[in-house]
């Protein structure tokens, strides 16, 4: 069985809906947290080879603050929330009211890190619980882990399960952004949902569009 060849356009649309619902709830959570208007883009669902993954995360030198959660339960997988380092700095400065916090040079202050971890936890948690409500599947996220590093080194961690069955990943990516005014916006972060290979069929089945054998 090769999953790639059996997935149709409407399956990808369903995965977009998954990204929509999850990130929509997360955007609302962030909006409440910051008291700002947070919007989201139409989710991108991409079938990417491992060689293309680097471009997906903005090039090999791109440094991000990332929250990672392992999802256990009926549809295991990996979830990342990645913020550009500058955005993470602004976010934490606002939350802990400390203008000096930054992630440009280690060691990073403990308070800021745990605030960032908590934000990641809230956002990823609202993404996943929305997803769980929608699909009626149980999803149990692990305790979030935080890393500030090259985006590709971080994301490759989420590819290990997939790498055992092939050299591609179906990535559900949603960008959330702050609307500054009508013509400009600022990226607040990206969600990446990477279900394990066996999880796709369960997701499609739960949403009423099983894959043909």
């Amino acid at each position: 069985m090769d999953l790639v060849n059996r997935i149709k356009d409407y399956h990808l649309d369903i995965l977009k809906e998954v990204g929509n619902i999850g990130a929509g709830h997360a955007a609302t959570a962030l909006s409440n947290l910051l008291n700002k208007t947070i919007d989201m883009k139409v989710p991108a669902v991409r079938l990417v080879s491992f060689n293309e993954i680097t471009e997906l995360v903005g090039g090999s030198e791109n440094v991000v603050a990332a929250i990672y959660l392992r999802i256990e339960g009926e549809v295991p997988g990996n979830m990342f929330f990645m913020l550009p380092v500058n955005e993470a700095n602004t976010l934490i400065q606002q939350l802990i009211v400390d203008k000096n916090f930054n992630l440009n040079h280690p060691p990073y202050p403990e308070l800021g890190l745990s605030a960032l971890q908590e934000v990641g936890n809230i956002l990823a948690g609202s993404y996943l619980s929305a997803l769980s409500d929608f699909t009626k599947l149980t999803l149990q996220p692990s305790v979030p882990a935080l890393s500030v590093d090259m985006a590709i080194a971080i994301l490759s961690y989420g590819l290990l399960e997939l790498s055992q069955v092939g050299d591609y990943a179906i990535v559900i990516e949603t960008e959330i952004l702050e609307i500054v005014d009508e013509s400009s916006h600022k990226t607040k972060g990206h969600f990446f949902l990477l279900p394990d290979p066996d999880s796709y069929e369960k997701i499609f089945h739960a949403l009423g569009v099983p894959i043909d054998e």
Partner: protein
């Protein structure tokens, strides 16, 4: 001409001076360089998993696994005119990007990759001249076959050379 050959994830390639060879964003993956100082030919593999037997793929990408990638790399180097008796190796990567209290086997993949690479190099009778492995940082590495130096860049510590 300062051409830099790029090696992607689960990929391998060879280069000859004045070319350089580079791979980006090694997390738990291990970057292995095998080089011949006389012909100045070198090869690099970006290894993701320790052994091919854990793979369930229909079609197999040999560059992905420590136990299969290095055989392919050596074969390619010989084809280019490098001499196996002069082969030496340098490696970097195999870090643990995230620390979890619940330690599944997948979380320890970095150290397992490093062990598998060391074992395979030993089997191939290739000496490891230098290595920068473990820790919790991502690495971007570039090898210059002219000088046999491997430069390693991390976000927190800048550039170092081994």
């Amino acid at each position: 001409m300062n051409e830099v050959i790029k090696v992607g994830m689960a990929d391998l390639n060879v280069a000859k001076s004045p070319q350089k060879i580079r791979t980006s964003g090694l997390g738990s993956c291990v970057g292995v360089v095998i080089y011949d100082e006389v012909t100045k030919i070198c090869g690099m593999a970006h290894i993701m998993l320790p052994v091919s037997s854990i793979g369930k793929a229909v079609s197999m990408n040999k560059a992905k696994y420590a136990d299969t990638a290095l055989d392919v790399l050596v074969e390619k180097l010989v084809k280019q005119g490098a001499k196996p008796t002069r082969f030496r190796a340098k490696l970097a990567g195999g870090s643990q990007m995230f620390k979890f209290t619940t330690s599944s086997e997948m979380m320890r993949i970095g150290p397992r990759n490093v062990d598998a690479v060391r074992e395979k190099l030993k089997e191939l009778r290739i000496n490891i001249i230098a290595e920068d492995v473990g820790g919790s940082s991502g690495r971007t590495i570039e090898f210059d076959p002219e000088t046999s130096k491997l430069s390693i860049r991390t976000v927190s510590q800048g550039v170092s050379e081994i």
